[in-house]
């Protein structure tokens, strides 16, 4: 090869071709998606994240959760994710429009957690004392009802959807932390004045969808995913915020086969001053702190759990068919069902 010009041109040309083809054109195709809403402009999905959740995402990034956990549900023909109850429909680009960074993930040394927030038990009065909402929202939520009593049943003691204040942390956190919210991307939240609707509509409709059983059989069969980790007795209800804390602190106390590192550095051991804190972890056995001490989450841990609880792709999307078997039954049912509790 003699001329320098063809070499330069070729080097630039091949690369420009790839750059345009794999980043610019896709950006033109799916780079400007808007949230979807129904005709009245309510029931908007997805919603921008709140301050605590955004900070939680940074904790998630900083500690490399992405190297073991994916956040994407593949379609039923492409993998068994739906059958594994990781979600009831495949993930779509629109699910991620407010996420930055986006944690699709590349490995599953741990489970897919695209919908881990959707699995949180729907709580009535039985809010477990350690729920993540507490530090953020009000210092003392209804701490009265002891969690252990509801524990053994595992998921979703109360399936019925009309439950405005349902999953505690996503509801609590956005409202509670206006201070940190500048991080959340403000763009195009059409219509609805920003922070308030996110708590009302998506979570409630989410839970309505997360429990497809509830739509068809009213008997309240446990939500998708009952066979996930083994629930041992005495712990907070699975996937509740309190449970997430215990799991982060001591994964093997919940599932002896877990290979997850424990994140003790996100928790503080401190002496109990006058009364046990509402958000102290309920630990048993060798993990339990000595008498007179308690283990409480740091702010980062609370943010991380708030972030985890916000992971929820159960809201239907127009462009995605919901899981095959349920589709006919649910698609007519869902649109009326979800706005109803929202109002």
């Amino acid at each position: 090869m003699k001329g320098l010009a063809p070499l330069f041109l070729g080097i630039f040309g091949t690369f420009a071709f790839s750059w345009v083809g794999l980043t610019v054109i896709p950006n033109w195709q799916i780079g400007n998606l808007n949230p979807q809403s129904d005709e009245e402009g309510t029931d908007i999905y997805p919603m921008p994240q709140s301050g605590m959740v955004v900070r939680g995402a940074r904790v998630y990034a900083a500690n490399g959760c992405i190297y073991c956990h994916s956040q994407q549900v593949r379609a039923d023909y492409a993998g068994d994710d739906i059958e594994r109850k990781w979600g009831d429909r495949r993930s779509a680009p629109r699910d991620y429009i407010f996420e930055r960074p986006v944690f699709l993930g590349k490995a599953r040394m741990g489970q897919d957690i695209a919908n881990i927030g959707a699995r949180a038990p729907v709580e009535g009065e039985n809010v477990p004392p350690g729920s993540a909402a507490s530090p953020a929202a009000s210092p003392a939520p209804q701490a009265g009802a002891p969690a252990p009593s509801v524990a053994p049943s595992g998921v979703s003691p109360t399936p019925p959807p009309p439950n405005p204040a349902s999953p505690a942390p996503p509801a609590g956190s956005p409202a509670a932390s206006p201070a940190a919210s500048p991080g959340s991307p403000p763009p195009r939240a059409p219509g609805a004045p920003a922070p308030k609707p996110p708590l009302a509509s998506p979570p409630s409709s989410a839970t309505a969808n997360a429990t497809p059983g509830a739509a068809t059989s009213a008997s309240g069969t446990p939500a998708a995913g009952a066979p996930w980790p083994i629930q041992t007795s005495g712990e907070p209800p699975m996937y509740s915020a309190a449970w997430q804390h215990v799991h982060l602190y001591s994964p093997r106390s919940i599932n002896p086969d877990s290979n997850m590192p424990s994140y003790r550095f996100l928790y503080q051991t401190r002496r109990i001053s006058d009364a046990r804190s509402a958000d102290a972890l309920k630990l048993t056995g060798s993990d339990a702190p000595p008498e007179g001490w308690e283990i409480v989450p740091t702010f980062d841990a609370n943010c991380l759990v708030a972030y985890l609880m916000s992971l929820n792709q159960s809201h239907p999307l127009k462009e995605v068919r919901s899981a095959a078997p349920k589709a006919p039954a649910q698609s007519p049912a869902a649109p009326p069902a979800s706005p109803a509790p929202a109002k």
């Binding site: 794999l22 799916i30 900083a62 599953r108 290979n259 997850m260």
Partner: protein
């Protein structure tokens, strides 16, 4: 148009006529001494650090409770630290060192202003150091392969500009009409990298793209870094070292051209296959899978070219350390690419996309191919910079075998374990934790492989240190792996 234009003259040049060229070459080598050695020394330091981090990562993956109280030793921080140290610390610095030397040699021009390059290397070290500290302190960006926080990325980019603009300048001052194959690859690498890095940074941090496209940009970046930066330097180096050591021109110039252009065209379109069946338009993934399959063309042409060049000279691998490492690397390139094709097929990817098999793939590319080629080039270049020969043939042999067995074992463990793990993940009748348990024995095997690699790197670092201290052999004959019977062709080894 064929072999005649290749400026690798010394095999054919008679001793008397070669004197002037020898002198010229010695002058060029002397001008590159400081910067290249500086890049190599830094790279070695990063290699040792990265190896230690890798060992920690590997052990911690099957011993999850290790040091769980210490935030900067949590697995999710040490893993990206290891990866970035290896990618930006070791591989990039060693690759740039080799590339600088090759550029100077092939452009037949002395290095002007070597101190600028040294400054570039210094900035690069600073960038990597800041970046790795940032990751360990919890400042990672969360984008795979681009975890360095922004302050580190900016420093890296400045450093890179110093190095690359300088390498391109050297190209301008070249003597001779012909542009040798190696120069195509090196020029490509030096021009692709800044575009790639800038595009990655811009599209992820400055004017971030929306949602899932960040993942697309991330994998586009990662794969192109692997192919167009490391792959191009590695292939260019192999195209220099193999003909040089055996003293025989490259088999076919035309094949090389086909290989280069098809490589540039197809390998740059790969990357999206890692997002198979994710929330993306299917055409993106399909285009990348098609491109991955088409990379068989450059693989075949490059492999054939090297093979035909080596034809009849394979026994030389018994003697020449450079040749042994380089040929191992060149062969690994074929294996790496073919496994890449295999695991990109949808039917296969369904099972292993989320398993540890993809770790095997990156290690095949970055270690078995690139790092081995670079080791080979260092065995060739360092004596020419220092004026001493490698001291112990036995250490070189140990280095080679520990590396070869180490990476071989690691690849096998991760591939086999990854396939089993992936099959179990895709079997919903099994509890999820079974899939993790399935791979644990293989991960322990991988740790064993890690020990081998650690041994190999420490041996090499020790040997390299001896060379730096001027403790190499003083001899006109290079260090052969095995005693050479009197034959003509080994003279240039």
């Amino acid at each position: 148009m064929n072999a005649t234009g290749i400026p690798l003259k010394e095999p054919s040049v008679s001793a008397a006529a070669g004197d002037a060229e020898q002198l010229e070459r010695a002058l060029i080598d002397a001008s590159t001494r400081v910067p290249v050695l500086m890049f190599y020394t830094s790279a070695m330091a990063w290699l040792i650090l990265g190896t230690l981090l890798a060992g920690f990562v590997s052990f911690k993956l099957h011993t999850p409770d290790l040091f769980s109280d210490i935030s900067f030793l949590t697995w999710g921080r040490v893993r990206p630290a290891h990866m970035n140290v290896m990618v930006y610390g070791w591989a990039s610095m060693a690759g740039m060192g080799t590339a600088i030397w090759l550029m100077a040699r092939l452009c037949r021009t002395v290095l002007r202003y070597p101190l600028l390059l040294v400054a570039g290397g210094g900035f690069w070290n600073l960038g990597v150091l800041l970046g790795v500290s940032g990751i360990l302190l919890g400042d990672s960006t969360g984008y795979q392969w681009l975890e360095f926080p922004r302050y580190a990325a900016i420093i890296l980019f400045v450093a890179y500009t110093l190095v690359a603009s300088w390498a391109v300048l050297m190209f301008r001052f070249r003597r001779g009409e012909q542009i040798y194959i190696t120069q195509w690859y090196l020029l490509g690498a030096f021009l692709w990298f800044p575009w790639l890095y800038a595009a990655g940074q811009l599209m992820l941090f400055v004017v971030p793209v929306q949602g899932v496209l960040q993942a697309a940009v991330g994998w586009w970046y990662a794969n192109n870094l692997l192919f167009l930066w490391f792959g191009a330097i590695g292939l260019g180096t192999a195209y220099y070292m193999i003909p040089k050591v055996i003293g025989r021109p490259v088999y076919s110039y035309h094949l090389a051209a086909i290989g280069f252009w098809s490589y540039a065209l197809f390998s740059s379109w790969t990357g999206m296959q890692r997002l198979v069946d994710g929330p993306f338009p299917a055409w993106m993934v399909t285009a990348s899978i098609a491109a991955t399959i088409l990379t068989i063309i450059p693989v075949a042409t490059v492999g054939l070219n090297h093979h035909m060049t080596m034809q009849g000279y394979f026994p030389l691998m018994r003697y020449s350390p450079t040749l042994r490492f380089t040929v191992f690397g060149a062969m690994s390139y074929t294996v790496f690419s073919l496994i890449g094709v295999l695991i990109s097929l949808r039917s296969v990817a369904r099972y292993i996309n989320f398993s540890q098999a993809s770790i095997a793939y990156s290690h095949l590319g970055l270690y078995a191919f690139f790092t081995m080629v670079i080791f080979g080039s260092m065995y060739y270049i360092v004596p020419r910079l220092i004026g001493r020969e490698w001291r112990y043939a036995s250490l070189i042999k140990l280095h080679f075998w520990a590396s070869a067995y180490g990476i071989g074992l690691m690849t096998l463990m991760l591939l086999a374990g990854g396939f089993l793990q992936g099959a179990n993940i895709e079997n919903p009748s099994l509890a999820f934790s079974e899939s993790t348990e399935t791979i644990l024995p293989y991960l322990r095997g991988r740790s064993l492989a890690g020990i081998l690699l650690t041994v190999s790197h420490f041996i090499f670092a020790y040997h390299f240190g001896l060379m730096l201290l001027g403790l190499g052999r003083q001899s006109t004959v290079p260090t052969f792996l095995n005693p050479v019977e009197a034959e003509g062709s080994e003279a240039h080894v």
